[in-house]
Symmetry: C2
Subunit: 201 residues, 2 copies
Amino acid sequence: MSSNAQSHIHRAAMKLFSEHGAMQVSVTELAQAAGVARGTIYNNLDDLAGLFDVVALELSLEINARVVRATSRLDDPIRRLAAGVRLYILSATRDPEVGRFLIRFGLSAEALRQLWTGQPLADLIAGRAQGSYDFTDGQINWVIALISGAAIGVIACALERPEAEAEAGMDAAERILLALGVSREDARTHARAPLPPFEES
Amino acid sequence: MSSNAQSHIHRAAMKLFSEHGAMQVSVTELAQAAGVARGTIYNNLDDLAGLFDVVALELSLEINARVVRATSRLDDPIRRLAAGVRLYILSATRDPEVGRFLIRFGLSAEALRQLWTGQPLADLIAGRAQGSYDFTDGQINWVIALISGAAIGVIACALERPEAEAEAGMDAAERILLALGVSREDARTHARAPLPPFEES
């Protein structure tokens, strides 16, 4: 089966959750929503029970990949983190279906582990190496969890007031940098810098 | 029906979620798990679809009430917030069933609205009035969402490493105070002060 079929099924699952608040779906419902045969569902999914977690993780990884591509144009790790937080909030707020999904499923241990690898993790370490951040090796796991949680919290708020999304994103980025130990002046400058071009989904 | 029956049913719903990862339950399952008749379920619940959100909200309000009682012994609003964050993380980590539930259902708009009333909101405003916090009236909603999200993010992390819960709680409280504009020295002092006595659930 193509991974295309799978992502089609995943999007259908997200739609069912978003439209009906469904927290669990049957193979029949999912097949209907995705417009595929029941056999296609069985061929593409191992386990219906953990479906929403899998969908949320893929969704997060997909947003993350776009954020990393966009922020790679910036040459400072602090600025990359600030822009990354703002673009993540922007993505989830402009597509409320995605936003509502991340609020519910975005903070699993697995999502936290898989999202913060590669460039985002390297940027955290680089920011510390250049003296901007203040955390020990033992603190890094919950620093990551705190940043993710803060961003998802602000998404929950921005979905209620989408007109304030850009301002909420800048403010969240600034406060996250402060939480990491960045000086007030630098936090403000980095959090309010122009965003790089970004491909929305 | 007594609210006692209701809280009994709510706890059963949380157990079903925790044990089987159930995201949706039937009246029959719920009646069995709670050890009551199906009629009791119908008499106590309006809507099975939103059940988990209602349970999460009640759970959050119940923890919140205990946290407010415990922190009322402290006379500084900054110290009350820091202790509140630590006790919230402690409650959710010592009872992993509660913790896993809050990670999934704790960031709804309704939960954010209802949790941050009364003393916690008054403390935020008082902290700003005494010059410790830096936020405008327009920012207060997402500042609240950011604090809640950060705390729930750290709960997700602490559930994976319960032995680090106390340290994670202190560090989270310190970073949240920094995010609010508190000076480094004050943030550290308030976040690492002894906790007041706390009645665990």
